[in-house]
């Protein structure tokens, strides 16, 4: 029983990490229709910045905040290059973000070298119902909950949220009603950068962050975001948690060698199930 709890909570923990990456992807796509392949890079930059600051003796908290800030700026930069030029199609912008992700490798190697780095997170472990869980997981879970609540609020309740969604739903119409599509897009990229950075600083203590850590991050995040059709906040979170827990459970009760296979397989099945139910007319509507 307590084993189950361990798997469940660690699963949720990893899931939340994935969700944070996914959230940035969804946010940016929901506003700009761009699948931002540089999302993992934001996390890496945020993490590595925070770690370096910690090494220089800055206290925890401050270092992390600064890391997130830097990631946000990087996000904005990526945005400017990807969608700043008038008439760059989402597909083109996607390739640009891909390119920027690779470009970042060089910069990161220059700044931080090519070796993996890590930081000390919340040390120790707590015991929940006889299950021993790393305290840091609880932090990740908490932050993720807050972030997603905020996003859901933004898009669900506020006019600003609607206006943001409008930009991707129909850019032309957005211009017609006087929404500055590009500015909205840049805002989205900045926030997306911050979200990525947040994911990075939270995951840094759990992982060894190197310039090329983004690949693994982006793939999981992409999986979650796609479960949410690159649009739905809630479904993205659900997808991420599902992914995390599935992996943990497979590793726990089956063999860890197949955890990715099974988890990805399940996500695929899930999506194909969804798709079977929607019909092209409806899919193309609007």
């Amino acid at each position: 029983m307590s084993d189950f709890l361990v798997y469940l909570i660690t699963g949720l923990g990893t899931g939340c990490g994935i969700a944070l990456i996914g959230s940035g992807l969804v946010l940016i796509h929901r506003v700009t229709r761009v699948v931002n392949f540089a999302q993992g890079t934001f996390a890496v930059v945020g993490a590595l910045t925070a770690i370096s600051l910690l090494d220089t003796g800055l206290p925890h908290g401050l270092s992390e905040v600064l890391g997130v800030a830097v990631a946000a700026v990087v996000g904005l930069l990526v945005g400017v290059i990807a969608i700043g030029r008038r008439g760059t199609s989402p597909q083109a912008a996607l390739m640009v973000t891909l390119g920027l992700g690779i470009l970042a490798y060089a910069v990161e190697v220059m700044l931080w070298g090519d070796q993996g780095r890590s930081s000390e997170g919340l040390s120790g472990a707590v015991t929940v119902f006889g299950a021993r869980i790393q305290t840091h997981y609880l932090l990740i879970i908490g932050v993720t909950a807050a972030v997603f609540a905020a996003l859901a609020g933004l898009f669900g309740r506020t006019d600003a949220g609607k206006a943001l969604s409008a930009c991707s739903s129909n850019p032309y119409a957005a211009r017609v009603v006087g929404i500055s599509v590009t500015r909205m897009g840049l805002i989205a990229f900045a926030i997306g950068g911050a979200l990525g950075g947040l994911a990075g600083v939270l995951l840094a203590p759990m992982n060894s962050m190197a310039f090329d850590s983004d690949v693994a991050l982006i793939i999981n995040g992409f999986a979650a975001a796609v479960v949410g059709s690159m649009h739905h906040i809630g479904r993205t979170l659900a997808g991420a948690l599902f992914l995390g827990v599935a992996e943990a459970m497979v590793a726990g009760y089956g063999s860890a060698t197949y955890q990715t296979v099974v988890a990805l397989g399940l996500v695929l099945a899930l999506m194909i199930g969804q798709a079977a139910r929607t019909h092209s007319v409806v899919a193309e509507a609007g």
Partner: protein, 254 residues
């Protein structure tokens, strides 16, 4: 109220799009000193937002605070004008029927309490009943709030009845303009109707490379601020008329 009439492909949409700044003119300039709202060609819904959200976004530009903001966001009066929408107010606009979308588009434009209202195709896909109501409402707006209306309308009869002035467009140039009553009588109108598709400016890059990423007119209109030589002619043709129509519109706005 100004009417733009002319055969398909005359350049009416292109013209009003330059008016509202969706397209940037290749030459000359458009100055509009007024809050301008547009019912674009082809409805242009926010497909995955609800009908209600679509309407509310119409008021996005109005930067009100507190109470006034609340008023601006209030959509109820639009539903009174277009009762058919009540039934679907919380459904995704993308799923709506052609006419319902047209209603939303009109409602959305009205929401911004415009001083200049540009309507590209009013009656498109609307049931006669609704068209009558809308026509009435527009004249009302024009009379009471002095809202200027630039109207493109397939049903020229209706257009000329509604509007005081009218411009007849053909192949991107103004073929005739004047008091709609006179125009209604004049043969120019008839000519405009008989405008042949062949007489149209041929679109550019004809042997364009196939592939879905080739942007459709809409994307393209956004894509290249400076049209390719092919369109330049059209655009320039439209443009000088654009200035006039804009003046006409703003004159009425004062």
């Amino acid at each position: 109220m100004v009417a733009l009439v002319g055969p398909n492909g005359a350049g009416k949409s292109t013209l009003v799009n330059t008016l509202t700044g969706i397209l940037t003119p290749a030459s000359g300039s458009v100055e509009v000193r007024a809050r301008i709202a547009q019912v674009p060609e082809g409805r242009q819904m926010f497909g995955d937002l609800t009908v209600d959200d679509n309407l509310r976004l119409g008021a996005w530009q109005l930067r009100g605070r507190g109470e006034s903001r609340r008023k601006q966001r209030d959509t109820s009066w639009v539903y009174e004008l277009l009762p058919d929408l009540v039934r679907v107010r919380d459904r995704k606009a993308g799923g709506m029927s052609g006419g319902q979308q047209q209603m939303v588009a009109v409602g959305r434009a009205l929401m911004s309490r415009p001083e200049v209202l540009v309507i590209d195709e009013l009656s498109l896909g609307l049931a006669p009943l609704i068209v009558a109501d809308l026509a009435e409402h527009l004249t009302e707006l024009n009379r009471e709030q002095g809202t200027a209306v630039v109207l493109i309308e397939q049903n020229a009869r209706l257009a000329l009845d509604l509007c005081s002035r009218a411009y007849v467009l053909e192949a991107g140039r103004i073929a005739a303009e004047g008091d709609s009553a006179d125009l209604a009588a004049s043969p120019d109108i008839a000519r405009a109707y008989l405008g042949e598709a062949q007489a149209l400016p041929a679109p550019p890059d004809a042997q364009d490379d196939p592939g879905p990423h080739d942007p459709g007119p809409r994307d393209r209109a956004m894509a290249d601020p400076a049209p390719t030589p092919g369109t330049a002619g059209t655009a320039r043709g439209n443009q000088d008329t654009a200035v006039q129509a804009a003046r006409a519109a703003t004159r009425e706005a004062k």
